[in-house]
Symmetry: C2
């Protein structure tokens, strides 16, 4: 995929709905040149607003549809912006279940103008069911109390902290945003259900004994829509180490009338699930998303969680993930 990017935010009302764009902006600022927002958009990534033509003039190569929604579809009122990007000379990438390539006008325009369209959520290869056979190398997986709680950011911060300590570590993307940030991976929620754990096994193959794959988690074991993906990903990842992603002020699953699980049960059930395919699995840290918390409440919250769980606890964006990596290595 050609970089740099223009990030399309559509009419996303809040940051969560633009989390693909937000993740790219956070982790790849050097390729996040501008944002394109429709009327009604309530998100600002703090980069210049541009039309596709302005972006092309600044050297942007690809417009990324950086919005997420339940079901992963492309609403009809985004199509004009996608066509405009193609006409301005940009490629277009999206990470939805619905393919850009299946929208006739988009496909026809791209073909006519010789542009590339990238549907990064679509598997580009076939998989087989998981074998459950133990692989060499070490693996860390992030899990969480809910969706959109910080599993990807935590995994990226852990990769960074591991590399800063001279460890061999690779982030393994399991969702569209991670794939757009790093250029590779498998959107595990888009594979055929029978192959969830098989795809996770493929994503994180045998490796050197001291090499860490840091695998981005998905969903939550306690989510009525996505727990199947979560469990298959846990089994296929065969994690040695689990980091539990938490937001202390979250009381209910995002957008649902379901309470979040209590942290202790969440840790226990994730570790138990992981032990099916790796009996050595253990929890090694709690990653706390403090982005919506009052600044003066954060230290207390972290101390309380450390007391409760006996595990190191930090916000990977605010503090980095060094504390968790140091605990894991000692």
């Amino acid at each position: 995929m050609r970089t740099p990017f223009l990030l399309f935010l559509g009419d996303a009302r809040e940051f969560g709905a633009a989390k693909t764009a937000g993740g790219i902006r956070q982790w790849r600022p050097e390729i996040s040149i501008g944002q394109l927002r429709l009327p009604g958009c309530g998100v600002d990534l703090g980069i210049p607003d541009m039309t596709p033509a302005e972006a092309a003039a600044k050297g942007v190569a690809t417009m990324v549809v950086g919005v997420v929604n339940i079901g992963g579809f492309i609403p009809p009122h985004w199509v004009a912006s996608i066509i405009a990007a193609l006409e301005a000379g940009l490629d277009v990438a999206a990470g939805m279940h619905q393919r850009l390539a299946d929208i006739p006008e988009v496909a026809a325009t791209a073909r006519r103008l010789g542009r590339s369209i990238h549907d990064v959520r679509q598997p580009t290869r076939s998989f087989v069911p998981g074998s459950g056979v133990k692989r060499s190398g070490k693996r860390l997986l992030t899990v969480g109390i809910d969706c959109a709680v910080g599993k990807k950011y935590t995994a990226l911060a852990i990769e960074k902290a591991m590399r800063a300590r001279g460890l061999k570590a690779d982030f393994r993307a399991t969702g569209q945003t991670g794939i757009l940030i790093t250029g590779h991976g498998v959107a595990i929620d888009a594979v055929v259900a029978d192959f969830i754990s098989g795809a996770a096994e493929w994503l994180s193959p045998d490796n050197e004994p001291d090499h860490w794959d840091v695998i981005e988690g998905q969903g939550s074991l306690f989510h009525p829509a996505y727990a199947g993906v979560t469990l298959g990903l846990i089994h296929g990842s065969q994690p040695d180490a689990l980091v539990i992603c938490h937001e202390p002020i979250r009381t209910h699953l995002l957008g649902l009338d379901y309470p979040v699980p209590d942290l202790k049960t969440c840790i226990e059930r994730n570790v138990e699930a992981a032990r099916l395919t790796n009996p050595a699995a253990r929890a090694v840290g709690i990653s706390v998303n403090t982005s919506r918390m009052a600044t003066d409440s954060i230290d207390d919250a972290i101390r309380r969680i450390e007391d409760e769980t006996g595990l190191p606890c930090c916000d990977p964006i605010r503090h980095g993930a060094g504390r968790i990596v140091d605990y894991l290595m000692n």
Copy 2:
């Protein structure tokens, strides 16, 4: 799909590998006219061997590829039989992940001769993620210690026992064999991973308060390849009642170096998972597959399981499922 059927067993070595054909033969004997076996086939369903031409002469309308394998592919050496069936005037149905329609010779032959090919495992509609919103009506789901332990047979036997007692009950097929037996359903392991629970919600919609959907379970929460499908199906089904399918002499998961879970843990974890979306969920019976057990050991085994679990226990093929239905209703 036009009936009756010729059941293609390929070169299946043992019954488990021909379980689609075996299920159709068991539950729809009136449409199971003959079997077609390749050299090396070790299975006999006790119906006449026939070539496709002989089957056509006896009024058979469709050849069903009744074999299963890991990954759900169609080996090249089956293709000649499939072409022969089309040339003899039969339609062909299969329940593999790999589509008949994607095999160029098969597709071309069917087109040339005007035959229908049915890829029953392929979803024929799109789904959305599960909502987790409670639906009206009652639901029973079969779960198990492993794959291929009797979840489909148990659900079919429970539907039969419920109807015999004048209850409103419908079997809901979630796999290719169930779909071929009943003519409808969703192969839940073939939907996009994000939509497992959403597809299960769709399969078992709102219904009358005293109506039972009897939903065929898939996989096992303790299976390293398929647990994700199992968990999503549990959450989407919102079962009021769980029947746990067991084979007392099974020590390891089929074909894997993994022990089966102990029955008590298996019951507890399945009930706990079901309570996420239906707090009233409870276990109501143990279905025991005694097909490989010594006849004089069966009664003792059943008594022991009833003592251990406090739940009614029976083999639905040997005894029917009346005991479980009576317990559920009282």
